[in-house]
């Protein structure tokens, strides 16, 4: 690259500003000593964070989200791993159709799945809505991401490594434990992190399928209607953004390392 500052580079910078600008307003105003998110800035304060930390129902919602997201991440990854192995290591009749069905949550508007689950749970099965129903729906929408991350890793390393393990006398389980799992490990962690974030941030499914116990996004949505709750929302939102960003970067770095390790 001889010219460093081409119009396209300028565009990329503007794009990044457009992408991040609005989102970064939230942390900016969360430290501002004002109940409204308006310019000019008045002064630095941490009181919004302090009042948030004292909010019992918010802490309850946070706890709910943490529990749901953790369990969802574990289940989605635990289901995703054998699925990814089956889809990459076997040529199964109908495998493509199953993979396509599993990818549906990526495209179909989540409101469709939300109401469909609502119907079967409440109208047909008469199940009480709870965090359990939220979690079940989250497993479903996390699964495509878990499978994609795991599949790209499994496709990334040489299949003959597993064959070599077989040749050296390991059985199926031993090969999985001693070869496949260690090699897929970065992707497993990455999948756990991604599923955690997706579940933790998910709103529409939780909005339709949670009972009296809200998850954090549902709680947050309730607060958005009240202008006087704005500072608390800003503080909480900023924290969520920070945590998500850290987890995404970690997941992404792990995934990339996992993919790039394949031999040239």
């Amino acid at each position: 690259m001889r010219k460093i500052f081409t119009p396209l580079t300028l565009y990329a910078i503007l794009f990044t500003v457009f992408l991040y600008g609005p989102v970064l307003l939230m942390p900016l105003f969360s430290f501002n000593d004002n109940t409204f998110a308006v310019f000019p800035l008045k002064g630095f304060t941490l009181k919004h964070y302090a009042s948030m930390a004292a909010n019992g129902s918010m802490l309850g919602a946070l706890w709910n989200s943490l529990v749901v997201a953790t369990i969802v991440a574990v289940i989605a990854t635990a289901v995703g791993l054998p699925t990814a192995i089956a889809l990459t290591r076997y040529r199964l009749r109908g495998g493509g159709a199953i993979a396509a069905a599993l990818m549906l949550p990526l495209v179909v508007p989540s409101i469709i799945f939300a109401v469909a689950l609502l119907v079967i749970l409440v109208r047909i099965l008469n199940v009480e809505l709870s965090l359990l129903t939220v979690g079940a729906s989250h497993v479903f929408i996390c699964l495509p991401f878990a499978i994609m991350v795991l599949m790209s890793r499994l496709e990334g390393f040489d299949k003959s490594l597993e064959e070599a393990s077989r040749d050296l006398g390991e059985d199926g389980w031993g090969t999985f434990r001693r070869v496949t799992l260690p090699l897929a490990w970065p992707a497993v962690i990455s999948s756990l992190l991604m599923c955690f974030i997706i579940s933790f941030d998910e709103f529409v499914m939780a909005f339709f399928l949670s009972g009296t116990d809200p998850t954090l996004p549902v709680f947050l949505f309730g607060q958005l209607r009240f202008p006087n709750k704005l500072p608390g929302v800003l503080a909480l939102g900023s924290l969520i953004l920070l945590v998500s960003t850290i987890l995404v970067v970690a997941a992404e770095l792990l995934r990339r390392r996992g993919v790039q390790e394949k031999p040239a």
């Binding site: 308006v38 699925t83 689950l117 119907v119 109208r123």
Partner: protein, 313 residues
């Protein structure tokens, strides 16, 4: 699944059995979370809500309610809607138009960025890609909400412009209208479109571009004749990946749309949670999905997606 690892090749019978055993949890989830609920949704759409009771006798009334003709057509944006409940058709059309606008804006904004990533970035490519991906993974709700802070009557743009002395009164046309929804959705989805386009650009063999130049193309001709056609598969998938989910979006119109910016998703939500008419809500969901699916297929057929994909494979 102790004995569930592949036996050399996938050809053997026991290998196949192991393969299906590995797939069984996922298949269970498909049945429980996809097939059964969808069947329930379809079934419900043929039933009727009678107060708190569900009338389970088969009826097409819920679908009929969506298209029942009226003597006097309702006018909306100069278009006549000859329906008794025109709100559904109007919202459907509005949602489709808004989604199309979002899709067009997303592709136009994302393409140059993807091009930049594929052809201009040589060092720190991974860093750039992470920068582009982070917003996609952070809370959708919060990203949409940040536009409410931006565009609100007491929002950042208004207060900023006022404190700079450019305007004396807050601008009221920024928030709570369809353009606000389109802007917000574009911002929320643009990062989702960059990656598929980037991947299809990155896959283009650089010697093809050199060959085009060698055969006499200028940079612009080369883009039009080689780069653009070869990036179409990724661009088309990106367009569909944005268009399909945004038609049914619920969060954005609720937060920044106001009464004028509602979309079909609001109507579905209202039928289920407020009007307590879930059978009609089910019918509306199914019709929306069918229309979106049909339009997507039509679009793919129109651009010859299969052929494009096969050729650039």
């Amino acid at each position: 699944m102790p004995d569930a690892m592949p036996r050399q090749t996938a050809a053997g019978f026991s290998g196949l059995a192991a393969g299906y055993a590995l797939l069984s949890p996922a298949m269970l989830i498909i049945v429980a979370m996809l097939v059964a609920p969808m069947l329930a949704l379809v079934t419900l759409s043929f039933w009727t809500q009678n107060g708190f009771e569900l009338d389970t006798s088969f009826t097409l009334a819920n679908y009929w309610a969506l298209i029942e003709p009226a003597d006097e057509p309702t006018m909306w944006m100069g278009i006549p809607f000859p329906f008794k409940n025109p709100v559904y058709a109007i919202l459907m059309l509005k949602s489709l138009v808004m989604s199309l606008a979002v899709t067009a804006a997303v592709i136009l904004i994302a393409y140059p960025m993807a091009y930049f990533l594929a052809f201009r970035v040589t060092r720190y490519k991974a860093l750039w890609i992470i920068i582009i991906t982070i917003p996609f993974w952070t809370s959708y709700l919060l990203r949409v909400f940040s536009w409410k802070i931006m565009l609100g009557f007491n929002g950042v743009i208004n207060s900023g412009l006022m404190s700079l002395g450019i305007i004396s009164e807050p601008l009221s046309f920024l928030l709570y209208n369809p353009p606000a929804v389109v802007i917000t959705l574009t911002h929320a989805w643009v990062t989702f479109a960059v990656l598929p386009i980037y991947v299809s650009l990155e896959k283009i063999d650089r010697s093809l571009l050199e060959a085009a130049t060698d055969l006499g193309d200028s940079k612009w001709q080369r883009f039009r004749r080689v780069t653009l056609p070869l990036s179409l598969p990724g661009t088309i998938s990106a367009a569909l990946l944005v268009f399909i989910p945004t038609v049914g979006d619920y969060v954005t119109p609720t937060l920044v749309g106001g009464p004028g910016g509602t979309m079909i998703g609001n109507s579905i939500q209202s039928l289920f949670l407020k009007q307590d008419n879930s059978p009609r809500g089910a019918a509306l969901s199914i019709v929306m999905m069918a229309i979106v699916a049909l339009l997507s297929l039509l679009f793919m057929w129109a651009v010859g997606y299969r052929k494009i994909r096969a050729r650039s494979a």
